[in-house]
Every structure is written in structure tokens, then in C-alpha cells.
């Protein structure tokens, strides 16, 4: 049975909404296949607006990996803005894919990529618009299997009722394995329907199917245990790790949008994983071990990716890009190769040290000295020990001053507020640091014309990190500290004038905290918040704190718990955490020890350079650190003298 495009109906609504181009597809790199020529069909969603979701590498990679299979079709869908949502409901137009405008409900799999929990309400909107029952329990054989992936899927319990399955970790091999299972099940005539299919997925031991697990609670509200309710599903579900990134050089054909998006560049991941061990960083903990992509594969990907896309910016992506074993050669090699072009290079996520200035100079050879960003994260040396972000104030000042004396005029400093054991003094030291940066910077640059921006956000404890047991500070405490910090920065008029202050207040962080460490009972809160109009919670203009607080007050008392119980309560060692049955490889005892070390301000080294400290990941997941150097260099490119007719 073929599936028709909803474009004719959608087309009539588009002149009435803002930025209609985001809904029409037509990107370079997009693939449209005949429905009937394929056997397994995936709809992939980034649950935020197109402008944020399109650049996401995760979705682009899975999209390409899947579409390379001849009998598989993968299309993409994004959250629609409220203006179109209202029109779609009024006119009966379902959630559609942007590639061929097919209704999401018609697909076999509906995979959603959650980089952050703030996309949960948008999941509900999409299900609702798609005509897929919100609750997994209400779905039939006519509905797709709703599958969550991405970092937030490491604790999918808050959305357990709404999804059918979740994949923890890297997706490249997982989506192919799932495809294989569906292909086989379909070939057999779909025996046992949906239930059998979910069972087959669960039996892989690396796909989590929440409905096959029961959660029991203690009288005080804590979890007693989470156990399988069928004999043949595993007690623990483990994460996936794609080893050898050179064997997976995706995206090869990056999607190039017509609409304006947050990032318009060809992004290449230069490694996955991070072993720096910053204790607040979920991404670092759950993506171990470090796996580098080699300098030559990166060079090849950049060349082909730029030729394919026509982008003139390259982003060398990772969690801490300057840590690549051949980052110096990589940057100078690329800078050399693209010296006579308008191609610019950028390194997001770098750490604070002098080496970065050399890199930055390499990257800005063409003369552009835009801002430099550093993330000391904590204001005082003490708190930086607590979070394991090893950088001294002297180092930081020295680095920043080098930047100013080399022509940079603008430096951004990132911090967090509300870290475990934090006091007012820890936060106030940020002001001292910023003052000193400006004072020393003016001297070094010989001009008053330099600026620094202090950007500070609320800390959110995340699952699978040493801070998973920590209590959060209330929004009042956070906002109070931010006010004090602002005053302290402006206490010196002359210095304060050169310092910009940007902050996120405490309220959204508290809700993010609820969603990230919540259990299945939080699902009712998400549903209520969504029913009350909650959408696009990552956007301050759409986020409503009072809506979430009301929703909590309405549904949580029924379970004998409340918002504070999930957020500002410290957990004990013995407590069963909602994600304990989900295995990121990290040994819980190691995490606890790291949490204790943190409170005694004891730092942990990086296992990339120092011996293994037994976090548990490599033995549990049968993985190993993969790093260079390879000793190879990037060769000069031969300039093109002829017009190129892209395929």
C-alpha cells in the first residue's frame, strides 16, 4: 500500500505561517525514495524547531546510514511551531516528514533524538499531531514503534509511558540492527504483532523496552526495585559504542538547508567520548571511552563534505576538541589547505590553556579574530576541584591575556551556578576573575578597548554522573547568587563597563533537573504540562515555570512525592536510582567514590594520559581507548580550475 504525500493539504497552510521554508524539505543531501521499493521505513525526529534540529549530527548520521540500505527508507521530521500546529489540527493535516511529506504514523519506526530533556513536551505534540496514541500501552499494530535515542535516553524513565523503546549510546549500528530485526520479522509475516517485535528488540540486551519492566516503590516514595516482568528480557540494558570512527565517516553528504539554521557549516566529529572527568558532565561520562577519528579521515571528510555542501565553514566537533592527539597538525594542515579560500575553521568546546591560543591563531589566519570562549565553569579554585575542572586562576588569566595581546578583543567565560557545596564566595570569585582579566588584558593589549562576557547558567545534576546523588539549590538561592555576582562585577565602574553579564535564571534549571533525574511518575507531570500548552521548553519565550510547578502540584501528591523531592533532595548511597537498570558501563561504586572525592575536593586525572582508574566502562562494554598520533600529515590540495558539475 503506497502512502500519499500530505503536501497538497499542507501547501495551503504554508502561506499563513512564519518561515514556511522550514517545512518544505528540498535540502541538498535529502533523499526521497519510493515507498513501495522499501521494506523497513524510519521517521527520524529532532524534537525542536527545524532551525535547531537540522544541524544535529546524530539525526543526519542515522538518516544517511539508513538510506544507504537499498530496502530502507528514512525521512526526517521536526517540531512544528504553534502557528502551524494550530492550522494542522484545524485542517486535519498530520505530523509529516519534510523529505516526502509522508504522515509519520505510516512508518515502521519513529526514532526521536533527545540531546536534552527539554524536548519531551514536543514529543507529545508530535505524537498527537501524528495520530499516534500518546501512551505506548494504547498503540496497535498500525502504529510505528516509538524509539528514543540521544543522551537523554540514558534515563528515559520520565517518558517511559510514551515511548516503546530506547537505545542508549551510539546509534550507527543500533539502527541497522533494529532494521534487521524488523526486516526479518516482516519477512516472517509479522508474527505475534507489535508485542513480539518489541520482545525481539528487548532480547538484544541493548534496546530498552520499558513495558517489560515493573517499577516497585517503597512507602516513602523511593524506588524499591525495577525488574523485568517477563522471563526472557535482561535485567540490565547496556549502551552501544561505535568503535573505529574511521569506519563510520558520516555524514558524508551533510544536509544543506535552504532555511536559515543555527549552524551553517560542515561539522566533523574529530573524536567521541571524553575522559577529562568533569563531574557535572553527563556527555563526558556516558560517551567513554575516547575514540579518535584519524587526521587523514578528518581531512578526507572535510574535503568531500565541503565539495558536496558548498559550506564555507568547518566545525571540528567533539566534547573537548583541543584534546585530539593530532589537533595541531590537523588545524595547521586544514588552514594550509584552505589558505586561499574563504573557508573558515572553528573549534567548539576547547579548554583553557596556552596551547589553545596557538590553535586559535592558526584558525584565524585569514584575519578574523572573533570571540574566544573558555569554560572554567567554577569561580573559585575550590569549586573547580569539586567539579574536577583542573585549571588555576593564573593559567586562565595568562591564557586570556595572551589572547588579548594577540589581537582578540572579546573573550567569553562560561560558568555554572548551584554546583554541589557551592557558597556565595565561590560565585563571587567570578567577579574577581573577570576584573583581573580586564585589568591584565588592558595592560597587555595597551588599550581600554577589550571586553569579556561572563555567561552563567544553573547546574543540573544528571544521571550516570558522580553528581547524580546531589541536591539542587532552589531557584531563589541561584537567583540571589546571580544578583550578588552582578553587583560585584559592577562594583568597579571602570572594569564593570567592559564586562558583559549573561545568565540563565534558576527556574528552568529546576525543571530540567526534574526531567533529567525523574522516574516514571514524572511522565504524568510532562503530560499535564503539555496539556496545559507546554511546548518548546528550551525556548525562554515558550517556557513557563508556573505551568510546570502547577502540573507537579496537580499530579505528584498522588504518588506521595513532589517537585522538591526530585530536585533539591540529596540521594543516599543505597537508594535505587531510576536508571540503575540502564548500563552506561560506569561502575556505580566508582561513581559514588568520585562523588565522595569531589566532596573532599580531590581531583581525578584523565585516563587518556594516566593509567586507567577503573571507571568500569572499558571492561563492561568491551571497549578500549582509541587515540593517535598516527604521525600522518595533511597533504596540499590541488586547486580546481574547472567548473564542477555536482552529481
Amino acid at each position: 500500500m503506497s502512502v500519499n504525500s500530505v503536501f497538497p493539504q499542507l501547501e495551503q497552510l504554508l502561506p499563513r505561517v512564519s518561515k514556511p521554508i522550514q517545512y518544505v524539505g528540498g535540502e541538498l543531501g535529502a533523499v526521497v525514495k519510493d515507498w513501495d521499493d522499501t521494506v523497513v521505513r524510519w521517521a527520524l525526529m529532532y524534537p525542536d524547531a527545524y532551525e535547531v534540529g537540522l544541524p544535529n549530527q546524530g539525526v543526519q548520521i542515522l538518516y544517511e546510514v539508513l538510506n544507504e540500505q537499498p530496502d530502507v527508507l528514512a525521512e526526517r521530521t521536526y517540531a512544528v511551531w504553534p502557528d502551524l500546529e494550530a492550522l494542522m489540527k484545524e485542517n486535519g493535516v498530520p505530523q509529516f516528514t519534510v523529505d516526502a511529506h509522508r504522515p509519520v504514523k505510516a512508518f515502521d519506526m519513529f526514532g526521536i533524538s533527545f540531546a536534552t530533556e527539554l524536548g519531551y513536551t514536543n514529543l507529545l505534540s508530535a505524537l498527537d499531531l501524528a495520530g499516534i496514541p500518546l501512551l505506548s500501552a494504547d498503540r496497535t499494530d498500525d502504529d510505528p514503534v516509538v524509539l528514543a535515542g540521544g543522551h537523554a535516553a540514558f534515563n528515559p524513565e520520565p517518558i517511559a509511558d510514551f515511548i516503546d523503546a530506547a537505545v542508549l549510546g551510539d546509534g550507527e549500528e543500533a539502527v541497522l540492527e533494529i532494521t534487521g530485526i524488523i526486516r526479518e520479522w516482516k519477512a516472517e509475516g509479522s508474527p505475534g504483532g507489535r508485542d513480539e517485535l518489541l520482545l525481539r528488540l528487548a532480547r538484544t540486551e541493548s534496546i530498552y523496552v520499558p513495558r517489560f519492566y515493573d517499577v516497585d516503590y517503597l512507602p516513602d516514595g523511593r524506588i524499591q526495585r525495577v525488574v523485568p516482568n517477563r522471563p526472557d528480557v535482561p535485567f540490565r540494558v547496556s549502551k552501544r559504542t561505535t568503535m573505529d570512527l574511521d569506519a563510520w565517516p558520516y555524514p558524508k553528504k551533510p544536509l544543506v538547508p535552504l532555511a536559515e539554521t543555527v549552524h551553517e557549516r560542515y561539522a566533523v566529529e574529530i573524536f567521541r567520548g571524553c575522559t577529562r572527568g568533569c563531574r557535572f558532565c553527563q556527555a563526558g561520562m556516558i560517551t567513554r571511552p575516547v575514540r579518535e577519528r584519524s587526521i587523514t579521515t578528518v581531512g578526507q571528510m572535510v574535503k568531500e563534505g565541503l565539495e558536496f555542501s558548498g559550506f564555507n565553514e568547518v566545525g571540528l566537533l567533539s566534547l573537548s576538541s583541543a584534546d585530539h592527539s593530532e589537533i595541531g597538525d590537523m588545524c595547521s594542515g586544514l588552514a594550509e589547505q584552505y589558505a586561499d579560500t574563504n573557508v573558515s575553521l572553528s573549534l567548539p568546546s576547547t579548554r583553557v590553556d596556552a596551547f589553545n591560543i596557538d590553535l586559535a591563531q592558526e584558525l584565524s589566519r585569514n584575519g578574523r579574530r572573533t570571540g574566544l570562549t573558555f569554560a572554567p565553569e567554577g569561580g573559585s579554585e575550590r569549586i573547580r576541584k569539586v567539579i574536577n575542572k583542573m585549571v588555576t586562576k593564573e593559567d586562565l588569566i595568562r591564557t586570556v591575556v595572551t589572547a588579548y595581546s594577540n589581537g582578540w578583543r572579546q573573550v567569553k567565560l562560561y560558568f555554572m551556578c548551584g554546583l554541589p557545596s557551592e557558597t556565595d564566595e565561590d560565585v563571587l570569585e567570578i567577579a574577581d576573575m573577570a576584573h583581573e582579566v580586564i585589568r591584565a588584558g588592558r595592560e597587555a593589549a595597551g588599550t581600554k578597548d577589550i571586553r569579556c562576557t561572563v555567561s552563567i547558567g544553573g547546574f543540573v545534576p544528571k544521571p550516570h554522573t558522580p553528581f547524580q546523588w546531589a541536591k539542587m539549590d532552589t531557584p531563589e538561592v541561584i537567583d540571589g547568587r546571580l544578583r550578588m555576582l552582578k553587583q560585584a562585577i559592577n562594583s568597579d565602574r571602570s572594569l564593570g563597563r567592559a564586562i558583559g553579564f549573561r545568565y540563565h535564571d534558576g527556574e528552568p534549571s529546576l525543571i530540567e533537573g526534574l526531567l533529567s533525574r525523574g522516574d516514571r511518575r514524572v511522565g504524568a507531570v510532562i503530560r499535564r504540562a503539555w496539556e496545559k500548552g507546554g511546548r518548546f521548553d528550551g525556548w525562554s519565550e515558550h517556557f513557563s515555570y508556573s505551568r510546570w510547578v502547577e502540573s507537579c502540584a496537580e499530579v505528584l501528591p498522588g504518588f506521595g512525592v513532589d517537585l522538591d523531592w526530585f530536585t533539591t533532595r540529596e540521594r543516599e548511597e543505597q537508594e535505587v536510582l531510576p536508571w540503575d537498570h540502564l548500563d552506561s558501563g560506569l561502575d556505580k561504586d566508582w561513581l559514588w567514590q568520585d562523588w565522595q572525592d569531589s566532596m573532599s575536593e580531590f581531583e581525578q586525572d584523565d585516563c587518556r594520559w594516566t593509567p586507567c582508574f577503573d571507571c568500569g566502562v572499558c571492561p563492561a562494554m568491551d571497549t578500549e581507548i582509541q587515540i593517535g598520533p598516527t604521525g600522518k600529515k595533511l597533504l596540499p590540495l590541488t586547486p580546481v580550475n574547472n567548473l564542477r558539475v555536482p552529481a
Binding site: 514556511p20 536559515e260 558539475v645
Partner: protein, 245 residues
Amino acid sequence: MVQRLRLRYAKRGPLRFTSHRDFARAFERALRRAAVPIAYSQGFTPHPKISYASAAPTGVGSEAEYLEIGLQAPVDPEQLRVALDAALSPGLDILEAVIASEGSLADRIDASRWRLELFEVEPKAALAAVAAFNEAQEVLVERMTKQGRRSFDARAAVVRCIVTEEADLPSGAMGVPCAIIDLVVRQVTPAVRPDDVLSGLRVVAGLEPPVPPRVTRLAQGSLTAQGDIVDPLDADREGAGIGGR
């Protein structure tokens, strides 16, 4: 800069929703994809030498958009057309490329011809509305501009507004009536756009199409006394002896 080329391109189907800014970004990427030796302006942030003739509004299709590029090395116009067309998404189509002769493109464009498809509108109703519009001396319509809501005349700039013969045909797959209007409008300031004329039809005759009409620009160029439009690239084609195709 050693060569200037003029291009005609189309915005078709779903990609008619590309805004002018969207197109401009896509076009610059296409120049790089196709390795076109584009010339750059001097200065701290060099810009590729591209200049656009007035662009059709977002959501309006077009068969006749024009732009001019400056090159650092001469190329064969037809090869360039093929390469650029392949470098753009299907729906953004490069239709013609010619070597620029003397004179500016802008000087050769003072009017546009549009086709307006009014789905679910009976041709009879459209005829009556168009007649009322044509009879009026002045038709004041309102539009939101950056300066706020403003009112202006949509009638004077209209050279021709007729319901075409095709309107009698049952309109395609949908099996619903569809009125088709052939419209020629002079380019004036403030610009009178097809949706202003549609507003005008509402003002004079209460014509309110139940679904948004589909609008396509068919031609741009200079207006003859007969109300026809002269292709702005004609002059280049005549002038192009050397290096042309």
C-alpha cells in the same frame, strides 16, 4: 573581474517558499559547489560579486528571476548554467546564462507578468471582480510594512488584469473550479504585488478565495506600449558575439 554573466532562474513547486535571503545563501553555496571562479569585492570582508534584480516575494513561484555575477576567469555560459543548476536543489533552477553586454539589468526591467490561480473560485465570480477592479480609478489597499500598516493605491500600477480563457477548463486533479488571472504590473514604489491586487479584488468586489491562491511570476522586463514585456536578456543575446554561446 573579467566577465559578467546574467542568469535567469526559476523558483518552482515547494521551493517557491524560499525567501530571497534563503536563495542568496543557497546560490553562494552553489557557486562554491560548482567551483565557479566568482570575483570578490575588495575590503576586509570580501563579498562575492552578485547582484539581484527585484526578487519575487516568498511563497510566490517564478519563472523569471534575474541576477548578475562577476567572474575572475571567463567561463562558457552554458557550462556554467549546467553546473550551477546541478549545484542547486531541484526547484531552484537556472534556466539561462548569457554574457552581459552594456547597460544594466535594472534599466531593462520595469514590469512583471504574473499568473494567479484562484482555487475554488468560480471563474464567473473572478470575472466580475476583475471587471470592477479595472473600472475603478483607484483601489486603496492596506499592507503591513516595516513602518506599520499603510494604505496605498493598487490600481494605477496595473497594466493588465484579465481572467484567462483557461479558466473554463476544469482545474486538474482536484476537480474543483479554479479561476486564473493574467496580471501585468509596473514596478513602482511602493511596490504593488500580486497579493495587493488580490486585496484590491476583495475591496472592490468582496472576492475572498477560500484557499490561498497560487501565484507565479511568468516574466519580467520592459513594458511595451502594447502591454507586452521584453525579455531583459534579449539585448545581451544580440550584443554577445565574443565569447558567447
